[in-house]
Symmetry: C2
Subunit: 435 residues, 2 copies
């Protein structure tokens, strides 16, 4: 059999259910799928492949899954730092978005974000923003896999001057992107329980159910939100959303910081998933999501970077390091959130949170070929006693050498092959001079 | 005037007392010192220089100062993770050190650590370990600036089978390294108040005072230590050390996690400095140092990575990100530990903590030329609205392009010029196979 791509001479971290790690591994890709994953016997010949990639003793693993982004916001990276979330959002981000977010800027910001993510090992992201149709075309052009939702908010927003049109736009996006690309899965994204009315949330949920798509929502992010929902609805944010019928197995609850025990139980019993964004929650001082308790209750928790303006990067390698270390020190327990648990959150659990774990998130025969190769021949990555803890605690995004999505080689020796990076950077710099 | 090195076409972050940022900057180095720092007028010719470095629109800034390392421990990076500090130290690190730490392994581990640090922008470190003489030769060979202390501990240690010799060895190290190299400043390093007796601590302090060198000590790192010192000495660790006379302006208190208000006041009044190591404290779940309170009290606080086995890297760029975000979320105050405060900790305040702020830590005429150039033409570093927050929140260690220490170019286009990296990596890998 002739394969499209053969990767060899590396340690394969499969992230399959037995967490197999294969030394001197060879991984073969055929028609976009994983066709062979095994250890190469001594002196055995390499399988035939149109493209042969020598991992040079590095690590071969599943591409990372970023469960929460706002892709075009890379345009505002570093525009307003060290500010309270309400000031940051109301006095900086919302005004900047209303002034500068256009189809063309959305396209450029999305391309920039896709390149940043691919170069740091992320092969799938889950996004919600405005002009999401333009986000989708840019993601597809970059060659990434994504779940994308047109943003729903009860204010005038970029591209939707009349909020009465927000649901209609979001529904049209789902219809349009159902069958355009194998990489793009449409979704719906309601901004939050405090920026969408109960009627809007209900309508959006009905569409999500009718179309069987993921329902993304920022929920229980800040203390302000918690207090506001308590005041307005005499309920916790999670309980309020549950009463509307939103907390179920198609819901992705983003942040989920301000939870009581009952909320954790509700999320677990309903089978909803959580996107944990520690760097954003820390930088904006939103609070600390009770992730160890969520995991103990059996909730599927993926990792997310959040938008670039609140992080200020889209690097899941760094996000893993933060997730592992934050919860250890809060509980004064260094055994919590061990490296394997965190790597699962960034791969197979993230895929499960998005409903994509049957096709991605681990290296298993028959799954889609979303694969990354890490170059470990660097001073900060030797020696290697434990490749998993290496990825979580020692690696940087820039250690990712090659990236394959859906069987297509997108990054080769740290060069992005699908996007004109120089041109994109020029356009972003030109954009920033107008802000 | 002809300069040795001229760096131009970048934004200079001076970190001087007015925090000047110079657009289109030119920085000139002569005989190891900073000789000119200014904005290049339009059409003005570049100053003459033997070596001209084009920063290509990037950032030119002072080299970073890592106030706490155990350089040879890079040999044990990832050997034992997700464990309590006492288990990690007593069951893994101390046994590994006693078995594998030799003059030759110390040399190799130190070279590896120096390359990792230089490639991530650190130009000065403060270290304490065993066989420190071999550490010093390797640091000097790599061309880094360092404050180095031979470790003092009341147990048999690598190179000092009889602890009765520990002070004598440490004193001999100070004598020997007083005048060998302009890069190396000797110091003394007592492991901790629970591994050194009162008599040992007193003798070490007497030597530090007589020789006018920095006294480094791990202090108030864990709750276990706090409880133990309370039980044995009816005192907090800081108060106990103060009673011995150790807390003064020549003391560098490493970690300083378990402090009460009185301890903070003692540190401030005595003029001692603190080395804050957030990633190590988080990974080992030691606790959270009250850094905002220390800063408010006027204490000089520098940043440190700690040894590689407890981090698992020596990357101060990442350490800044952790320091900024950790304290914000703990206090639920995003304005705390803003980017400038944190960058000061990694540069001029770190230099001050080590007593080197008259010669390094900022870019000012007459200071030693310890300079780094950051390549910002990367997808995760555009656009640039605020170069300081960019370094703290968006950059990676691998964005450092060029590194100069004491006027010598050590890293050029990410290639280390002073160490045979391939050979060092080979030796480290060979070492790791014996562990």
């Amino acid at each position: 059999m002739n394969y499209n791509i053969v990767i060899h001479n590396g340690t394969i971290i499969t992230m399959n259910s037995s967490l197999d790690i294969i030394e001197n591994g060879v991984l073969c890709i055929k028609n976009g799928n994983l066709a062979k994953i095994e250890s190469l016997e001594n002196d055995a010949p390499l399988p035939d492949g149109e493209t042969i990639i020598d991992a040079q003793g590095g690590i071969i693993m599943p591409g990372l899954v970023n469960t929460h982004t706002h892709l075009p916001m890379s345009l505002f990276r570093g525009l307003a730092d060290d500010l309270p979330l309400s000031v940051w959002l109301n006095e900086h981000m919302f005004p900047a978005e209303s002034k500068y977010i256009t189809p063309e800027s959305v396209r450029i910001g999305t391309l920039l974000s896709c390149v940043e993510m691919l170069l740091s090992g992320t092969t799938t992201c889950c996004d919600g923003y405005f002009y999401e149709d333009h986000v989708a075309w840019a993601v597809n052009e970059a060659g990434m896999r994504a779940i994308l939702g047109q943003g729903v908010i009860d204010f005038p927003a970029p591209g939707i001057p009349d909020p009465a049109d927000n649901i209609k736009n979001a529904a049209a996006f789902i219809q349009k992107w159902r069958n355009i690309s194998p990489l793009i899965t449409p979704s719906i994204f309601c901004h939050s329980p405090y920026t969408c009315s109960k009627a809007t949330l209900k309508k959006a949920k009905d569409i999500a159910d009718a179309e069987a798509v993921l329902f993304q929502i920022h929920a229980a992010e800040t203390k302000d939100e918690y207090v506001r929902i308590q005041t307005e609805h005499q309920s916790t944010p999670i309980n309020y959303l549950d009463e509307i019928g939103i907390i179920d197995k198609n819901a992705l609850l983003v942040h989920a910081v301000w939870l009581d025990d009952n909320d954790i139980n509700t999320i677990a019993v309903r089978g909803a998933s959580v996107s944990h964004n520690p760097e954003s929650n820390m930088k904006l001082a939103s609070g600390i999501a009770p992730v160890p308790a969520l995991l103990k209750a059996g909730v599927t928790v993926g990792l997310g970077t959040d938008g670039c303006a609140s992080n200020n990067n889209l690097d899941l390698i760094s996000e893993m390091d933060f997730a592992a270390k934050l919860h250890k020190v809060i509980a004064l327990d260094p055994t919590l959130m061990d490296a394997v648990t965190v790597l699962k959150m960034a791969t197979i659990q993230g895929a499960k949170a998005l409903g994509l774990d049957d096709i991605i998130g681990s290296l298993e025969i028959g799954k889609k070929a979303d694969v990354i190769v890490i170059d470990t021949r660097k001073p900060h990555l030797v020696p290697v006693y434990n490749p998993v803890s290496h990825i979580v605690y020692a690696a940087q995004g820039s250690d990712i050498r090659d990236v394959i999505v859906n069987g297509q080689l997108l990054v080769k020796d740290r060069k992005i092959l699908t996007v004109d990076l120089e041109n994109t950077i020029e356009k972003v710099i030109r954009f920033s001079k107008t802000v």
